[in-house]
Symmetry: C2
Subunit: 98 residues, 2 copies
C-alpha cells in the first residue's frame, strides 16, 4: 500500500489548486480579467500559472473578439476535473479521522 | 473573499501531508522505524520531514528506552490535527462541485 499521496504535480501548488477550484466550480469559461480580480494576483503571476495549467492539459484557453476587443477566457477541462476529483478523494481518504 | 487556499505551509508538501495523515489516523505514537517502513522513505529523508513538522509544532517526538534500546516515536499534536482539519475543510469547500 502506497502511503504517499500521488495527485497531479501541478495541483501541489496552492495558488494553482485555488485557480483550478474556481474554474471547476464555474459552468462557463472565465475571462482572464475576471480571474485577476477574483484571485487578487498580478497579471504576470496569474499568466504564468495559467500557462502551466494549460500545458498540463488541466485547463483550456480561448481567445475571441468581443466588440472588437480581444478577450481571453479559461475553462477547466474534463481531464482537469478528473484530477481535482482524484485529489479530493485522496485527501479525504488520508484524513479519514475527521 | 479570499480565493487562495491558506493552509499551514508545512502541509503544502505531499510527502509531509501524507506523514501527517498516517500519524493523525493513529491513536498511539508511531515508532520512527515503523514510519520508515510505512512511508517507504529513506531514513535521512524522513528525518528531515519529521524535524520540520516537529519544529512547526504539528507533531511531537518522544525518545524512550525499550529493553535498553533507544526508541523514537512520533505523534500528531492537537495543533497538528487542527491544521489538518482546516486543510480538509478548505479543500472540500474549494472543490464543492464534487
Amino acid at each position: 500500500m502506497d502511503k504517499i499521496l500521488s495527485f497531479h504535480p501541478l495541483l501541489a501548488d496552492k495558488v494553482r489548486l485555488s485557480i483550478m477550484g474556481v474554474l471547476a466550480n464555474s459552468n462557463e469559461p472565465i475571462a482572464f480579467t475576471d480571474l485577476i480580480e477574483a484571485m487578487q494576483l498580478t497579471k504576470g503571476n496569474l499568466s504564468s500559472h495559467m500557462k502551466k495549467l494549460e500545458e498540463g492539459g488541466l485547463i483550456k484557453m480561448e481567445k475571441e473578439f468581443v466588440n472588437r476587443k480581444p478577450r481571453t477566457t479559461y475553462e477547466c477541462t474534463p481531464n482537469g476535473r478528473e484530477h481535482l476529483k482524484e485529489y479530493l478523494e485522496q485527501i479525504q481518504a488520508l484524513l479519514k479521522f475527521n
